[in-house]
């Protein structure tokens, strides 16, 4: 796979994951409970993970 194609795929995947995490936070909030809170915290952790994975090549 060409580097440019791989780069585009990576950016797309990261964007989709980040959007899914934000959506998960918004949807999980509608139900009150520890399960929903856990989903929200996991989504927050994944968002930070996406940020870390983007940042890794610049370290």
């Amino acid at each position: 796979m060409k580097d440019s194609t791989r780069g585009v795929l990576l950016v797309t995947a990261r964007t989709i994951i980040a959007a899914a995490c934000v959506a998960a936070v918004v949807v999980a909030r509608t139900t009150v409970g520890w399960d929903s809170l856990a989903i929200m915290l996991v989504a927050l952790a994944v968002l930070l993970g996406v940020l870390a994975s983007y940042n890794r090549r610049f370290r």
Binding site: A18, V25, R29, G33, W34, L48
Partner: protein, 300 residues
């Protein structure tokens, strides 16, 4: 003649004397209250009576069965994620436009966007309460004028949307501040860097992601930490001033719930247990943000 080591030794007491007032204030107003929050979370105390009873971890066990606490936690996390993503995205976008594009009336736009950051949060709460008013508010009034009555909402009275009404106020309040922060970072990037990338065929979008973002990364790191703090602190003031946590606790955030328990419900120890959770959560998220965004600063 005294050597460098002797000079260092000699200046030690002077440095200590200079630092002492700041250290005393720091210990008195930062360390002692923080330790006290942790200590009080192990007691039951009404906040007024002289009776304090040590209950160990009971206050924390109570948290596990408190639905209102869970809801407040969920609201805080939701505000943290949504307000950060929206404000950061819009702030970066606007800063890039204001810095890179030669817009007419750019100073006016910057002024208009920055004004909310100068206003008191309570004033902002009053402005948005007026905007969201069910009968005479600007939003519902405009919708009625446009014959869009179906879209009219009870913005601060509907459990499903009240938190997002608060989120809009938070974004509006902080957008200008972050935009100016990002603009200051972008303004310090030399024009030659952009010229060189343009010669290499980079589009405006490519320049933003390959030149601007990496060169303002330290600003981004700092603002991400600010976002964590403001999601916890700013939301409290807005909730207190606009909804009081209602309707039925649906807009309660961690800090407002802690305040309610400690000072209104006379459960000071329980309130401090919530304070410990807030401290641990803010600290952990700030630490993770710092670790996730750490990189060597670029020299240019």
């Amino acid at each position: 003649m005294a050597g460098p080591a002797a000079r260092r030794r000699g200046s030690g007491p002077f440095v200590l004397a200079c630092l002492l007032p700041a250290l005393v204030l720091f210990v008195l107003f930062m360390i002692v209250p923080t330790v006290n929050v942790f200590r009080m979370s192990f007691y039951t105390w009404s906040g007024f009576s002289p009776d304090m009873r040590f209950v160990g971890l009971d206050n924390f066990v109570r948290l596990l069965d408190d639905t209102q606490f869970v809801r407040a936690f969920q609201n805080t996390v939701a505000l943290l994620v949504v307000v950060t993503v929206v404000t950061m995205g819009m702030g970066l976008f606007l800063a890039a436009i204001m810095t890179r594009q030669r817009l007419r009336g750019r100073t006016l736009y910057r002024f208009v966007l920055y004004v909310p950051s100068v206003l008191s949060v309570v004033v902002i709460a009053a402005i948005f309460s007026a905007l969201y008013d069910q009968e005479n508010g600007l939003i519902n009034g405009t919708l009625r004028l446009l014959s869009l009555d179906g879209l009219r909402q009870v913005w601060l009275g509907d459990q499903d949307i009240v938190l997002w009404s608060l989120a809009i106020a938070m974004v509006w309040q902080s957008l200008g501040y972050y935009m100016v922060l990002y603009m200051s970072g972008m303004a310090s990037i030399p024009e030659e860097v952009y010229e060189a990338s343009a010669l290499d065929g980079a589009s405006a979008g490519r320049q933003f992601f390959a030149v601007t973002l990496p060169l303002i990364w330290q600003n981004l790191r700092t603002t991400l930490t600010f976002f964590v703090m403001s999601a916890v602190n700013l939301s409290f003031v807005l909730v207190r001033a606009m909804t009081g946590g209602g309707p039925d606790g649906s807009s309660e955030v961690l800090l407002s719930y802690m305040y309610k328990q400690a000072y209104t419900n006379s459960s000071y120890g329980y309130g401090m247990a919530i304070g410990v959770v807030i401290f641990a959560f803010s600290f952990l998220v700030s630490l993770l943000v710092s670790r996730a965004t750490r990189r060597e600063p670029l020299q240019f």
